[in-house]
């Protein structure tokens, strides 16, 4: 069906593990920022649980690339390989949900394919795909509820979907070390997201899916401004007290 990817080398596997691990770690941290700030208690719990799933994935993936703590806490911004979508600030609740919708739809397609393959990611993917199915479902329910709800919810959800649209092209760029080409996931992603937005009464954004310099380079270590602030907070404790234990 698609091009047969060359047998991945160990270095490529580590690179891919870093990229996917950074996606999970950074999104987990963003969702963690909502603790104590979610609109209702159930959402507080839901977002924390999703963050925890992602953190578990991140720990396994980063351990495939090196020492998980060193990688999480001691790298500079330019050394992170996550896509720019996951580092975008939580914004209002609609932005958080739009980010979840775009990312969890992608991650579900990705893990589903990886689980069917024979790469070193197959085991984790087979486990995580079942968790991510719940993340995607959660995002879908909220997209429908906000988009097809009140005028304010509809307007805000539409605005959020449009604002994050330009970060979605990067998800499908080639990534060495996987036994698949992420570009192959794109048609299913567009169909799935388009279907949900349609049912929510929201227009599929028509802007470009990659920006000039602002989007499309997270995998190369180029990040958007909010990411540095996020890292400073995430790494501050570990860097201030090197080697400290509980």
């Amino acid at each position: 069906m698609t091009r047969e990817a060359p047998a991945p080398t160990a270095a490529h596997t580590a690179d891919a593990a870093l990229a996917l691990g950074d996606d999970a770690l950074v999104l987990s941290h963003r969702l963690g920022e909502l603790m104590g700030h979610a609109p209702v208690l159930e959402e507080e719990v839901a977002l924390a649980n999703i963050a925890l799933d992602l953190l578990g994935q991140a720990r396994i993936l980063l351990s495939m690339a090196g020492d998980e703590d060193e990688l999480a806490y001691l790298r500079e911004e330019r050394a992170f390989r996550n896509v720019q979508l996951v580092e975008q600030p939580n914004g209002d609740f609609a932005h958080t949900i739009a980010r979840q919708l775009y990312f969890s739809t992608y991650q579900h397609l990705l893990y589903d394919r990886l689980a069917a393959g024979r790469s070193p990611f197959a085991g984790l993917a087979a486990k995580a795909v079942k968790e991510v199915a719940y993340h995607r479902d959660h995002a879908e329910q909220w997209t429908l509820r906000l988009g097809d709800g009140t005028e304010t919810g509809h307007e805000r959800m539409g605005r959020a979907c449009t604002a994050l649209w330009r970060f979605t092209g990067e998800l499908f760029r080639p990534l060495d070390g996987l036994d698949l080409d992420p570009a192959d996931l794109e048609p299913a992603w567009l169909e799935s997201v388009g279907d949900i937005l349609g049912r929510a009464g929201l227009a599929v954004p028509d802007g470009p899916r990659t920006g000039a310099w602002t989007a499309g380079a997270g995998r190369e270590g180029l990040h958007t401004e909010p990411f540095g602030w996020m890292l400073a907070e995430m790494q501050h404790l570990h860097r201030s007290h090197p080697g400290a234990t509980w």
């Binding site: 649980n49 953190l55 486990k127 079942k130 959660h138």
Partner: protein, 195 residues
């Protein structure tokens, strides 16, 4: 697969009888997370444990508890390894485990077999047991109204047994549970969601 020796089977029982740190009514064996116990050289035992969820924070407490139980049983050296493959599923929870969950006030997971996560009903708001929905009391057990779909059994209230329950949130006190409410007795309850 190597057949475990009598001693290994005994040690499996010991490790398997350790209670789950978050759901202490269940043992690790009933939860289905203990994969194997192997005896190596010189009294060294290797245990394989699988997490329920990738990020399950209880796995470290489980490992420590297993080590302690085996030490108390006279094993000198214990290594607990976490394995991901094959992935744990709620189908791995034993019948006895399901019974204990219900008794503890948690609705046990429905069987999913190879179907993956049970698709939850879609709708913009809370899923109430309205007419025609799989959780309506009229829906017979094991069947469902789905045309060509394998509709799941209703999630029954663990307190009063009613099948008329609604989903409040897909995520609850831990990653493995969803929060529901019984429409008959009005009590909220946790549901060990299918994975």
């Amino acid at each position: 697969m190597v057949t475990p020796t009598a001693l290994e089977a005994e040690l499996f029982e010991v490790a398997g009888s350790v209670p789950d740190p978050e759901l202490p009514v269940l043992t690790l064996q009933e939860l289905g997370v203990l994969r194997s116990v192997r005896l190596g050289h010189e009294d060294a035992v290797e245990v394989e444990l699988t997490p329920t969820y990738t990020g399950c924070p209880a796995i470290e407490a489980m490992s420590l508890d297993i080590e302690r139980a085996l030490h108390e049983h006279g094993v000198r050296e214990v290594t607990v390894r976490t394995v991901l493959t094959p992935a744990w599923s709620t189908d791995d929870i034993s019948d006895e485990g399901r019974r204990k969950l219900r008794e503890f006030g948690i609705a046990p997971p429905r069987t999913v077999r190879d179907a993956g996560p049970v698709p939850l009903e879609l709708g913009p708001t809370r899923t109430v047991g309205a007419a025609g929905r799989p959780c309506a009391p009229s829906a017979g057990p094991g069947t469902g109204p789905g045309a060509g779909q394998t509709a799941p059994d209703p999630v029954r209230c663990p307190l009063c047994g009613s099948a008329d329950t609604e989903l409040l949130s897909r995520f609850s006190s831990t990653a493995c549970k969803a929060l529901r409410r019984c429409l008959a007795c009005r009590e909220p309850f946790d549901h060990f969601k299918e994975l």
